[in-house]
């Protein structure tokens, strides 16, 4: 049997697929960040905490209210998105006239507070959340055993990513949004409520993070640090893709998941830094990111 760089092709395909699965999470999370940065100019550092909230609210919904996974997939993003709306109204909206840095510091502080609250309440070991029975088990693809649930994660992520891209780049509503970020006064003059649109956009970005959190709950343990572990990687993804670029966030999310997956085979010790090495190279060669527009 032939081998690619010392690895049997089955194993290689398996790792590529795993990379794609992890990439689904990177893509979903960096998409939310890109939407919020692209349209509000806010670097949302609490995104990781909001992803973690998604997983926890799903756990609470199941344990305290008996709402199963499928219900959580719809309800949790709405609930967590609503907290995003409140945060935007009460705090972030006061910062738009200030430098980016203030938004970053505010959301970073929020992230620490949210994590601290969940840590005090639930500890750090994590809580169990089962895979929904409809998606348990797996399929033997010949080169690997693919858990049905992971297949579903890739599918759900692709659909949501494409839908978001389509809504922002190809619909009338998206056109208003993009116009409002360029010239809010003019768009307001057409009778469109720009502040409300911006509030809902932030809520939507947060809901995307929460959706990723619900998707993650059954495969990673639901614990208060899950967002903090991931957020730095996701920021690197956004920087590589180009700050604010929707398509860049999605494509680099999936792409870097795959690169990381391959690193885990060839040189596992480096897998946690591979993305940052790529970030450094991209910043040197193309400072605006792969899909970024130079201002």
């Amino acid at each position: 049997m032939f081998e690619l760089l010392g690895i049997p092709p089955q194993a290689l395909f398996g790792q590529l697929l795993l990379g794609l699965i992890n990439g689904s999470f990177y893509a979903l999370l960096s998409l939310g960040l890109a939407v919020i940065f692209g349209l509000l100019n806010i670097i949302n550092f609490s995104h990781g905490a909001q992803y973690m909230m998604g997983a926890f609210v799903a756990w609470m919904a199941l344990t305290w209210l008996g709402i199963p996974y499928w219900g959580a997939l719809v309800i949790v993003p709405l609930v967590v998105g609503a907290t995003g709306v409140v945060i935007e109204r009460l705090m972030i909206s006061k910062l738009y006239h200030l430098d980016h840095l203030y938004g970053l510091l505010l959301t970073f502080g929020l992230a620490l507070i949210i994590q601290g609250l969940f840590r005090n309440q639930f500890g750090v070991s994590g809580l169990p959340y089962s895979i929904p029975p409809q998606l348990s088990g797996g399929t033997n693809l010949g080169f690997m055993f693919l858990p049905n649930y992971r297949g579903w994660v890739v599918l759900a992520s692709l659909v949501v990513c494409f839908g978001t891209w389509f809504a922002i780049e190809r619909t009338r509503l998206g056109a208003y949004l993009r116009a409002a970020t360029e010239n809010p006064t003019l768009v307001g003059a057409f009778g469109i409520n720009v502040p409300r649109m911006i509030t809902l956009t932030y809520g939507f970005g947060v809901a995307l993070a929460a959706f990723a959190g619900v998707l993650a709950a059954p495969i990673y343990s639901v614990n208060p640090n899950m967002g903090a572990d991931l957020i730095i990687v996701v920021f690197a993804v956004v920087v590589i893709g180009g700050m604010g670029s929707i398509l860049g966030a999605i494509l680099t999310g999936f792409g870097l998941g795959i690169v990381e997956g391959l690193t885990k085979v060839f040189y596992p010790e480096a897998s946690s830094v591979a993305i940052f090495v790529i970030m450094a190279i991209v910043l040197l060669v193309k400072p605006a990111g792969l899909f970024g527009r130079t201002a």
């Binding site: 790792q15 795993l18 500890g123 750090v124 070991s125 994590g126 895979i131 495969i219 572990d229 596992p268």
Partner: protein, 398 residues
């Protein structure tokens, strides 16, 4: 001038004579208070240390103990900075707990340099009582040799001969892999390979598939805390255990089993120094601990902190001093006795010796209540549980 110096010296001597009546001790609990080891050490270790001070009735015996604590974030550099500051500026006499081997080894060096005492419960590296053993260091609860000797040997004896390791890429993981390899090979097994993952990690599926492809009978998890929880969870998800490969969790705490749930954790074989439901003493002690910790049961790390602090306080009382050589000398020449480990002894190399236990995680149907998780498979007697004194290469052993 001479007169002034003499007066001062006299005054100092008077003050010191006065302090011999009451000894003030500052005890620093240094561990992970926010990361993946926070539940198995963290605040619980502070509670355990306080329980030891209360049970010893230290205040009534003229020993005033102040407990402080800090978060080392599992990072050796952070641990070093805090240890240095504690010893130099805050007058800390003894540092307790310090999980995460890399951080513990850093604190070990600073403690040696400053001539203080370090009671380790949470770290696992055998280097603490081997190549890097120090006069002021006691390694209390478990180490990678004892873990390998328990779980590793039991698995090989049960027919799981070919191993593949999933190893956390830092001092602890390397040490555990090395020790288990030795045990496996000595018992007639074979190690087919290993993969080292970054610490801490989230997604272990890639590494698990590599382990699966190796065709080994058993995948040895040389990691701990949240890393082990996620590895076990994902091994079930990818059908690795159903396909016939066994998992050997080389270091699993009861808080990990609690996080996994019995559905996922059932059947795992593991080695522990302590279990809350062992006997009447451990049950009573754990009950008190639970009351202060919102219902959760103590891990072996918590039990070790209690046992170590208690023995240390006995040493302080007996020698009427907090001087390192005197107290450590007493601790090493007198047996330890407490409700959590029963009888034990502190060896010349700083290794604390007690029985270890081989447990198997119950199936959900076998469990009768909250935290009823383990059934006892075997008791590993103290004298064979730990690495023989002469094999460690500790310079303190003549």
């Amino acid at each position: 001038m001479i007169f002034k110096t003499a007066t001062l010296a006299g005054l100092a001597a008077l003050l010191m004579a006065g302090s011999a009546m009451a000894i003030d001790i500052k005890l620093g609990v240094l561990n992970d208070r926010s990361g993946i080891y926070a539940d198995l050490s963290g605040e619980g270790s502070v509670v355990a240390a306080r329980m030891a001070i209360e049970d010893f009735e230290a205040a009534a015996k003229g020993i005033n103990v102040e407990v402080i604590s800090a978060d080392h974030q599992n990072k050796p550099d952070v641990a070093s900075t805090i240890a240095r500051q504690w010893y130099d500026e805050e007058g800390v006499d003894v540092i307790v707990d310090v999980p995460t081997s890399s951080a513990a080894l850093a604190v070990n060096e600073i403690t040696r340099e400053k001539g203080k005492i370090f009671l380790n419960s949470g770290a696992a590296s055998t280097d603490l009582t081997g190549a890097q053993c120090a006069p002021g260091t006691a390694h209390w609860t478990y180490d990678t040799y004892a873990l390998a000797n328990g779980t590793g040997k039991a698995m090989v004896d049960n027919g799981y001969k070919n191993w593949y390791f999933l190893t956390a890429d830092y001092a602890f993981g390397h040490s555990l892999e090395e020790n288990t390899t030795a045990v496996v090979e000595a018992a007639g097994g074979k190690v087919l390979g290993s993969v080292r993952h970054p610490f801490p990690g989230t997604d272990f599926s890639s590494f698990l598939l590599q382990a699966q492809a190796s065709g080994a009978d058993v995948i040895g998890l040389a990691n701990a805390g949240g890393d082990t929880v996620n590895s076990i969870k994902q091994a079930a998800e990818f059908g690795i255990t159903q396909a016939g490969q066994a998992l050997a969790g080389l270091l699993i705490f009861i808080t990990d089993v609690h996080a996994l749930g019995l559905e996922t954790a059932q059947g795992l074989v593991l080695t522990e120094a302590f279990y809350w439901d062992l006997n009447d003493d451990t049950r009573a002690w754990s009950e008190r601990f639970s009351e202060e910790m919102g219902g959760s049961k103590p891990t072996m790390v918590h039990a070790g902190v209690y046992s170590a602090v208690l023995h240390y306080l006995k040493g302080v009382e007996a020698t009427n001093s907090k001087e390192t050589d005197a107290v450590m000398g007493w601790m090493k020449s007198n047996p330890s006795s407490d409700p959590v480990f029963g009888e034990g002894e502190l060896r010349a190399d700083g290794r604390h010796i007690h029985d270890m236990y081989l447990f198997q995680v119950k199936a959900p149907s076998e469990s009768t209540g909250d935290w009823d998780y383990y059934k006892l498979l075997a008791t590993i007697p103290a004298e064979i549980a730990f690495r023989p004194l002469e094999d460690g290469g500790c310079a303190l052993v003549e």
